[in-house]
Symmetry: C5
Subunit: 354 residues, 5 copies
């Protein structure tokens, strides 16, 4: 519920561009790490100070500044001032309820993305906002908390694997984007596992819990869809963008990540359809069970009610009841009862209830 | 219900441009307040007369005339005549069932918006129409009642906080627009609280009231959607507008408020999905309860009906019933009854009903 | 039902342009009335002959010819010949199952609209086709029956109220269009009243009639939507039209009527949503009632069935039943029964059924 | 079912353009009829040979060749060769599962349409594919079986009624198109009759048959929609087409038939909505009946079960039951029972069940 | 379930363009077959080595290289290097979870398609990814497993049937595309058979299995739709493409295959509608049965419960019950009971339950 509400009311009434961190403070200290590289050399600082990383600004090498933790507004302000970033962009970075988007500020591009992971404790999807600023020779990334999906990218830079060391900052931005989209498939696979589990439960022994799990999964789909849907526009915006920041060669990679984003959306849509079908199955199976319960009641009741009536008749205490005196009455009554019971059973057979 | 009907029938048959106040009279007196400022000076009159405020017209400073209360048609007519406002615009201002819209009249822009608040007494959302007229150096705002969401903007002007004192009337119009959109998040947060409450109720002990609350919330969503949906077009219209009234620098702020409007719409859509899911849950839980009720009835009835039949048999008064005379009949009957009851229970266990 | 079928089969097989009146004959005599005016003079004939009204053709004044009743094909043919109207247009005028549309024939514009009113006798919406032909200095309107929504327009022309006498035929056409659209709000208000009534019924005591009323209202919405939906295109067509017949000043009025048309559509959509919600409420309340009925049955049956069984036991006639002889048996049995009944009631309390 | 599957598997694996007749052979012999006309003369052969009709090719008059029966591939091949028709077009003509479409081959236009009629025997809609080839001075039409909706067109040509004899082949093609679309209204009227019948049944005495008829009608709507929906594009394609084959004057007639096609689609959509509403009504009425059944059971059972219990009590055979000896016990028991029964009835009244 | 998840997590973290085979290894050995032809000669190798087939590269003839089995990454790498294929294309070929797509790389076109077949063992649809690379004089096709739908194409090349030998590589690509789309009709026909079976079952004797089959078929539709939907864009992309690789004459054939693709989509949509209708029918028939069960119970219970009560009354052991002594009491009681039973039956008749 709460996580679907995207904009905090903390900010209401402040002038636009006022820097206030909105969102949980998810990490204790703000950590800045820098990776500066070109084809031939590499320099890495995992625990850098702001001043150190500003020093890389005018070098021709590609610089990746990764800021983890958003609650120290001062750092952002200085970074923004140094790299000439618009106050509204800084505000959006701090405001972690953004919708994924891409904005072109001429000198740099600003991208907001959602990084997803499955919180095992609460058993729900959690999203973390990742903001990227792509300049001519630098990428600045902002994350809310420690732990991300960028390690493979870092590995490739360190080991000079793939094209990444030979090309510019735009390819680095693409690589980060790709890492985030790839991670959606991991999330989807986990959801697929849970859907399959529920499906087996549904066939074997559906309970009210099954229903609640289905509804929970449906809600996760709503959340997922909301986080990922705008991504399409972001990436296709990237492709249409006629910005000198994106070189020709990177476009083909963007097309690739766009395909992946569409695959993610397709899969989410399929999952939604499947969950809707599972809901139908659940309701049908509940209604079938009810039907069966009713049948049992009906069969037992309709067989015995007439018999009990017959027994009641001969339990009456009238003085003049000729049958009571007859010698074969008792076995005859048994016979009549048997006949009634059998004809009832035959009737139910014919109806297909037995 | 009523509030979804947007156009009163009071006006039917009048020529277009005829000024008639349509809507409740929500305030006793019409109050005009003026805020005139530039970077260096500021002049404020909270209880101004019409003549006083017309005096600001030709000054180069930015003038914000705020009219609260719409039932005095005369005032509107004079304001309109002085600022050259088209009669249809004045008509739209008075007719409080407008759809949010933006119209470009060359010399000025006309914007209709909906300001929402939650009426605690009636426990429902209430919308108030706010009309803005943006000229080259003035903004005129019209409200139906006292009390609005513009106090932070007023504060910023008075304290010269943010950019607002340094820039033109277009930025002021943006600031008012932004204040209204920001307020939607407050409304949404309240709705989110109510949805969460209902959700807990739904899990704990769903009643018919729960259902009615869900339906009520659904209807609030319809109302909300109807009030806010056109806003998208309004703001994107602002952005596309090639009007000399909007300067380049303000456009980036409009993009920001556009993002917020889309976030509001996204959240409303998510809430609708969630409410639909809650309705399903409610119906399933009702049907589950029914099922449980039926099971209890069936178990009790099917266990005791055969036993009662057996008791009925030996309650018959036939003269010749050999069993009645036997010494161990009574305990034997108990034994038979016990066996029947136990086998019934075993049967229900196997069916999974116990 | 019938009224949703738009095209009669009477015309099948005739060549296009063949003039056959299709639809009910709703009025006895065909009546032609003429209103000819400019800023300074006005001439009105409420019962004109065809020849009289043809005389106005070449005058520079604005002429409004209003034809009521369509079954006299001859009159139409002569009018058409005189004003140079295409045979297909005449065919469309006679064929009262048209969809609202706008067609530009260069020399004149042809507009088809639906005028709605609520037939009190049949308690349903009835639509009447109104066709307008707008030439450079004339408007010809065709109606099926006496009684229309144009009286305010006539009044304004007679009293020279508003702009209408100072401007051309295009403004007259707009005024007629506006009168028709305004009337939709009257219809919507009546529907809103009926929806509110049904809503109260739904809360107080829903019956099968309530359901049928809901379905009837839903169908009225389908009918309404079908009649009004194309209007959007018609009016926006008017605005996009680059015809010399529409002067610049009228465009702003068309924008106004376009806003109204969209408000009508919005309201219809909201009503549909509300009716769908009411259907859900009805079904839930039926199912809730069922549930309650079942609970009462179950409680009564499960409390008394075991007790009746106990009574049955001691109604048996076995010779050797030791309990029968005991002195305190009877009160003890009452005690046992009381205990069973109380524990049942406690059980139901715990289940939340009482 | 079967008829919704549009493409036979007979053709799989053949090269494109291979001529194989796909579909039922609906007529015994292939019949070719020719109508050749201009304003002054007319020549008609209802049973022509291929050679005869090829002779008309180079005359300036308008020639309409109508081929009934498609199973003789040879005839098609020769016609195609003579008139220069692309093999894929011939293939499409033979393959009767085509979707309605329009293709422009420069020298000629190729149109596929669906002619519908109601097969009384099977009580279902049947569609027949009609293909038209429109050249500069000829129209070739292909039908699957004898019997069509073109007789009025033939009549108009023979009697020189309307414009048809004075204008070119494009007008003839329009006239055929119009005849087919007009016939849809006949089909819709028949469906409207059936829907009305079912509706009355639904109110009077709904059975499982009613449900099946509703589902059948829904399926006919799916079929109808599938056959007619693409027509919109076909006709609007005609209008947008900048082909020398269509002269200016015919365009206005195409606009007319386009309006009709949209009316057909509108009506189908309305029927679908109505059928969906009828399904809801059916389900509600079934559930209402169930409710009523349950109420009767509950009232009878809850009134008599306690009474039977009381009777059971005094049927017990305990030696020491003081009430049994009292003189007024029996009438008192009746009194108690009466009181119980009355209070039960009062309770049900209050609940609104009686 | 699983098969709806399109992208494996195996690849996460690898640099783009890294060649890893993702998907089941569906065939033991990688087989390369070559077909090289022009109008006059043909050369075929069904078991070729990589080097052999590279030799055809610079010949002017059309070469079709068909690679079956994707797990040998080396072969792909060499083919890619030789034909100048972009690493991302090779990656997409190996990654068998692609969405159908078309990409234009200037020198060649890259097409991904899904070939479907019905796996009889698992009774479900299985899709196999087919990738095509179309260069100026070659087509390279990649398949996951042995067995395809291209045999008719091979036959036509070998027998020089149709146009295929006279035209270029673009026509070959079209022929392969056409073979795949044609095969969808085979799959749809099988599904149509299964739907018809289920339909008959639904009318005759619907069980929970019927429901599960309906849900299974619905899911197959979701799968089918997901595999085929993007095809539309692919083929229309082909048509819009202004590539020198596609010659003018082939375009008309592409239009044909586009029609077929739309027919497939139409049929899938119709099937979905029909399955939704079948689900409704199933639920209604279950609810009807329930209703019938309840009626039987109600009739039996309400007839006998009052009778049993009467019998109970005269089973009481009061000392002073005057009726017990009367001579005609017993037959009178039978009379009363008969009257009660008959009036009950009459009541049920009137209600329409019997």
């Amino acid at each position: 519920m709460r996580k679907l509400l995207t904009r905090s009311t903390k900010k209401i009434g402040l002038p636009p561009g006022a820097l206030v961190h909105v969102g949980e403070k998810r990490t204790e200290t703000v950590r800045i790490s820098v990776l500066d590289y070109d084809e031939h050399h590499i320099e890495e600082k995992t625990q850098s100070t702001l001043d150190e990383c500003l020093a890389f600004k005018d070098k021709p090498t590609v610089t990746w500044i990764d800021v983890t933790g958003l609650h120290d507004v001062k750092i952002l302000e200085r970074l923004g001032a140094c790299y000439g970033i618009h106050p509204l962009v800084l505000e959006d970075i701090l405001n972690t309820g953004q919708r994924p988007k891409l904005e072109d500020f001429g000198e740099y591009l600003f991208v907001v993305l959602k990084m997803l992971h499955h919180n095992v404790g609460k058993d729900e999807l959690v999203s973390e906002q990742v903001s990227l600023i792509l300049g001519s020779n630098f990428v600045i990334s902002f994350q809310e908390a420690e732990g991300d999906v960028f390690d493979p990218v870092r590995g490739r830079i360190r080991n000079a694997k793939g094209r990444i060391r030979k090309v510019g900052a735009d390819y680095l931005a693409y690589a980060l984007l790709d890492a985030i989209v790839d991670n959606y498939f991991v999330v989807l696979e986990k959801l697929a596992n849970r859907i399959e589990q529920v499906e087996e439960e549904l066939v074997a022994r559906p309970t009210l819990d099954t229903l609640q799990t289905i509804h929970k999964l449906k809600r996760e789909m709503i959340f997922l869809r909301k986080s990922i849907w705008p991504l399409r526009e972001v990436i296709s915006g990237f492709q249409r963008l006629e910005s000198s920041l994106i070189c020709k060669d990177t476009e083909i990679y963007l097309r690739d990540v766009y395909d992946h984003a569409i695959q993610v959306m397709d899969t989410i849509e399929s999952f939604r359809d499947i969950l809707a079908g599972m809901l139908d199955t659940y309701l049908s199976s509940v209604s079938n069970k009810m039907n069966e319960v009713m049948k049992v009641l009906t069969i037992i009741a309709t067989v015995f009610i007439p018999l009990t009536f017959v027994a009641g008749i001969y339990g009456m205490n009238f003085k003049y009841m000729p049958e009571l005196e007859w010698h074969w009455s008792y076995p005859m009554v048994w016979g009549v009862m048997g006949a009634v019971a059998i004809s009832m059973v035959v009737f139910f057979r014919k109806k297909g209830w037995l």
